[in-house]
C-alpha cells in the first residue's frame, strides 16, 4: 500500500517533489519555489529542512542512490542467469519508474565526482558480469577486454540516456516490459554472437519473444 502524498512528512514531500521536478526539468531550471509549490508547502520550508537548494539536491541524490544501490545489491545472489540479470534490474528499476529514469539520466550527464563514482560502480558490476560471461563461454575470446565492459554499459544505459530522442522514433513505449525483455535478449545475443552468429543453443536459454506488432 502506497502512502498518499498528504500522509508524508513535509520533508519527504519536498524531497519527492524535487525528485519529480529535477528529473523533468533539471536542477538548474527548477526553482525552490516550484518545488515547494509542487509539494503544496512554503518555500521557506526547503531552507528549514535542507539548509539550501543544494542541500535539497543532496538529499534527493542520497535517496535515489540508496534505492539504486539496494536494487544493484540483490542482483548478485542468483548468479545463474549471467548478464540477463542486468536486464532484470534495469527492468525493475527503470521500467517501473519514469521519474527515476529521468533523474538518473540527469545524474549520468553531470560531471560531478558523485556521478563518476556511481558510474564506476556500474562499471565494476559490468566487469564482474563480463568475467562470468567469459568463463561460461569457455574463457576463449579475442575481444578488447578493457573496452568490453564499457560496451556492455553503453548497450544498457544508452536507451536510458537516449530515451527522449529515441522514443519519438518508435511506435511503442521503450520501457514497457516486452520492449525491455526484447532489448535484453538482443543485447545478450549481440554480446555472445555478434549480429551474425547462428544462435546455437548452448548457455542461457532464449527467453525473449519479439512481442512487438507492426
Amino acid at each position: 500500500m502506497e502512502a498518499s502524498p498528504s500522509d508524508l512528512t513535509g520533508r519527504a514531500r519536498l524531497r519527492d517533489a524535487a525528485l519529480r521536478l529535477f528529473a523533468q526539468r533539471g536542477f538548474a531550471a527548477t526553482s525552490a519555489r516550484a518545488v515547494a509549490a509542487e509539494a503544496g508547502l512554503s518555500p521557506a520550508l526547503v531552507m528549514h529542512h535542507f539548509g539550501s537548494k543544494e542541500g535539497l539536491r543532496a538529499a534527493v541524490d542520497e535517496q535515489v542512490l540508496a534505492r539504486l544501490g539496494a536494487a544493484l545489491r540483490d542482483l548478485d545472489p542468483g548468479g545463474g542467469d549471467l548478464m540477463g540479470s542486468l536486464g532484470e534490474v534495469s527492468a525493475r528499476m527503470f521500467g517501473a519508474d519514469p521519474v527515476l529514469r529521468g533523474y538518473l539520466r540527469r545524474v549520468l550527464q553531470e560531471d560531478s565526482p558523485a556521478s563518476a563514482a556511481l558510474f564506476g560502480r556500474l562499471l565494476e558490476g559490468a566487469r564482474s558480469e563480463l568475467e562470468r560471461l567469459i568463463a561460461a563461454e569457455g574463457g576463449r575470446t579475442d575481444a578488447d577486454l578493457q573496452w568490453a565492459p564499457f560496451q556492455m554499459l553503453c548497450l544498457i544505459v544508452g536507451p536510458l540516456l537516449l530515451e527522449p530522442v529515441m522514443q519519438p522514433n518508435l511506435d511503442r513505449p521503450m520501457f514497457e516490459a516486452p520492449a525491455l525483455a526484447r532489448r535484453s535478449a538482443a543485447n545478450q545475443r549481440l554480446l555472445r554472437l555478434g549480429l551474425f552468429g547462428a544462435s546455437r543453443s548452448t548457455g542461457a536459454p532464449d527467453t525473449a519473444k519479439p512481442a512487438r506488432r507492426r
Copy 2:
C-alpha cells in the same frame, strides 16, 4: 589560418561564446550576461542581434547542426569501409572539438522535436550502414533487426554521452585518436563476431592497433 576572436564580428563572437558556455554549463545555467562577458561585449548586444536568449540558442543550434550535417554528408561516398566510416566521422567531429562534443551531448539530452529529428537522421544512417554490413556478411543473421540500429548507435554515441562520468574511470583521454581507433575496432568486432567469435579474416580488414599502454 584561424581568425582570431577579435577579428570576428560581434554576432559571431557572441554565438561562439554561447556555444562554448552552453556546452560547458548547459543552456539554463548560462546567463546572457555570461555569454556577453565571455565574448567581451555588452549583454544588450545579445538582444540586438538575436532578439532574445532563445534566439541566441537557435542561432547556435543552427550553426552546430549545419557543421554536423556537412560532416555526415561527406560520409557516404567511399562506401567501402562499412561501419568503420562512422568511427571515421566520429573521430573527425567529436575527437577534434571537445566543445562540439559537449554541445551535442546537451542536445541529445533534450526532448525537443529538433533533437529527435537529429537522432532520426543518425538512426537512418545506422540503418543503411547496417544493411550494407549484413549484405557484406552474406545476408544471413538471426539478430533483432529492429533493434540492431539502436544498438549500433548506443555503441557509437554512448561514449559521447557518458564522457563526463566515463573519463574519470580511465587513465587516458577518451577522445584522442588512438582511443577512438581502438573503440571503433572493438565496435566492429563486437557487431560482427560478438565477444567470443574468433576473428576469421573475412570481410573488412582489421585496421586497429591496440595502441594503449598499461
